[in-house]
Symmetry: none
Subunit: 227 residues, 4 copies
């Protein structure tokens, strides 16, 4: 395993290039030729290192999943306050997606294709991912600041929203002007969406018991433009 001195290992370069390409055009749209070129290696060399296209895809997938799991876990145990932890989760996810825009793209493409390729090894990562949300909710309930909820739902509300928001960026950017006059801001950054989302879900999960009011009509009254 004597790697070339001056740069990242060949395999790492291949994986990066592959992630980029898979994220751009999906599995069947990706061309091994393009990946090899992007990685700066010969096509035959790629096969020597990776085996074949399918295996390459699996490897990329696993690597990305591990990153997601790690990030979520990290964020989940960030603080003692479950509500804050939820927001932290959203922010962490947004940060991850910003740094690795390929991630939400590959995730959804993979899901859209029926998780055809998802290797069994992904199971462990899967548990870690859902575990993060589950732990926060459990703690929230135990401390009485959250009502019970299926972690799968909350997780999807969090991650699903951010995934689609991130994913839709080109589309939103393209139509941003067209809906401007509708008071819809399509080009807000992902971090802002995450902040809003963390807050929204935090509020939405408050226990009913809170009291019985919800004193309608005091704050909102005027328009929408302000904060």
């Amino acid at each position: 395993m004597v790697e070339s001195e001056e740069s990242t290992s060949v395999l790492a370069r291949i994986l990066d290039a592959a992630a980029e390409e898979f994220g751009r055009v999906g599995f069947s749209g990706a061309k091994v030729d393009a990946i090899a070129r992007r990685a700066g290696v010969n096509k035959a060399a790629l096969y020597y290192h990776v085996g074949n296209k399918e295996k390459l895809y699996e490897t990329v997938l696993l690597q990305l999943f591990a990153q997601v799991a790690g990030t979520l876990e990290q964020a989940a145990k960030a603080g003692p306050d479950p509500v804050a932890a939820l927001s932290a989760l959203a922010s962490a996810m947004a940060g991850l997606f910003s740094r690795l825009p390929v991630l939400p793209r590959i995730m959804t493409m993979e899901m859209a294709s029926g998780a055809r390729t998802m290797p069994l090894a992904a199971l462990a990562e899967f548990r870690r991912i859902f575990g993060a949300t589950r732990d926060i909710l459990r703690q929230g309930q135990e401390t009485g600041v959250m009502r019970p909820a299926n972690p799968a739902f909350v997780h999807m509300a969090l991650v699903g929203t951010l995934v689609v928001y991130s994913l839709s960026e080109p589309l939103r950017r393209r139509f941003a002007d067209a809906v401007q006059e509708m008071d819809v801001r399509l080009d807000a950054p992902l971090a802002e969406a995450a902040a809003f989302l963390g807050d929204l879900i935090g509020r939405g999960l408050r226990p009913d018991a809170a009291v019985g009011e919800t004193p309608v009509n005091t704050a909102g009254t005027e328009g929408h433009g302000d904060a």
Copy 2:
């Protein structure tokens, strides 16, 4: 839908088959051969009717978009209560996705590929789609039952969540057993998720002025990073 099974117009049959195929494997993964076979027409006939693969895709996309827009609009004006309307929106969307599982798949794949193919004609549908959420929020604020929020965010929270939840079905089903012991129910039906989501967002959008109860996180959006 209206015509008798086998007398459906050729073009309609082609479009249905294409939606199915595109939804299953994406644009580049779809094979015109397969679409033609599935539609029960000769491949050359398909080209005679549709032009080429790209055009076929665009047509499918437009048709699906129109359905989404129609459904959302319908649901949005369902009742006078904005909060209920929001839930109705979620339910309608869930119903649509259940009947047309191909829809969320194609939508995300299209977005994931950078909205490469989205025809300009989709613009109108796009406005209708965002308009539905926007109208509800506006009304909610005007009647004082909701605080201001960027409709794009709320829309994404609603649709994005349902899309990913629907999308992830095969994956969730596959790993359902594996996380059962974690108190995470991965196999809840989409409608249930929609109900939860409508409720969650409705609560989350309640005006801050909810007096002094539910003391959590009253600061709104500014307090998320820490405790």
Copy 3:
């Protein structure tokens, strides 16, 4: 045979369109679709009138050949002076090619493809075509103003030159500027070329014995190439 009142017969329109198309891209390059469109008739109608592509081609060919033969014959018997007749032949050919630029194109394409399609019916036209030149030469010899020569050679010198000159027009036009500084005028009109050619061949066919003048082979002192 009741033709449409307001225009040329359908078949004539088809033949014209076909000639145009065949001349532009050759037999295999021509598309029946394009011919039908150009002729303003339905594709199936074209088949009804013509049979198939091959037959259409043969018909066009025969029609064009007949025009060439007629023109040459006409020109050949134009006057009593063989030398003038030769020039007349060249001019007539040039005129024909100018009016029907498709003619030289189809002629050469047909020859280039090994006269694959040339129908036997073309034989008669063929004899008329060569007959014209042959008659002039024979008369020239009999009146002593021309030396003997294989009519096939002379014919080729005449027609071949004009065919290629006509054919090369787009090419010459394209490179005209590039060779201007070389004292080569590539854009001279076909008629001018014909005039030059008639003259050139007329001179070239003068009998050696043309008395003692036309200092055959004396001026060039070192004349090795000729007789």
Copy 4:
């Protein structure tokens, strides 16, 4: 040409096969399949080496043009006598066409199609080709053995005739018997035609001044070609 029969470079074999095929049926009639088979290579290999059909055609064209140019140049500078050089030019051309019967076919087909494909790189060859004839004529005039004439005309008379004569071989052969009784020998070899042609043009270009007789038709030619 230099390498041993079967070890010829793959690309060379492809180009040869392509020239043969293009010459036989033209660009659109040629099938890549057939070319690959004839060259003894896999179709994909052909694409690997050449890019696509169009590029293949261009390459073939350029190669052929270069051969023509080289041959003409060589012949043009063969001797000091312009009249002899003209004959040498004709002979060289005939020799080239005999060895490469594909050449006149491709040349005319290309011209007939409007020089659609002629790459700009052909420009240089083009200049060399016309330059040969031009140089001979210029020298002929300077030494007083030729009258002024547009080199383009002379060149066409020379090359055009030989091209069509060569091209028409199958046709001539097919109808040779039919015109035999007409004193027209259709099956004379190309070399003979070239000899006749060289002589014919040589004579035809003799200066009028030679003596004073036979002032045929001098009007048309004097306008353009002089220096």
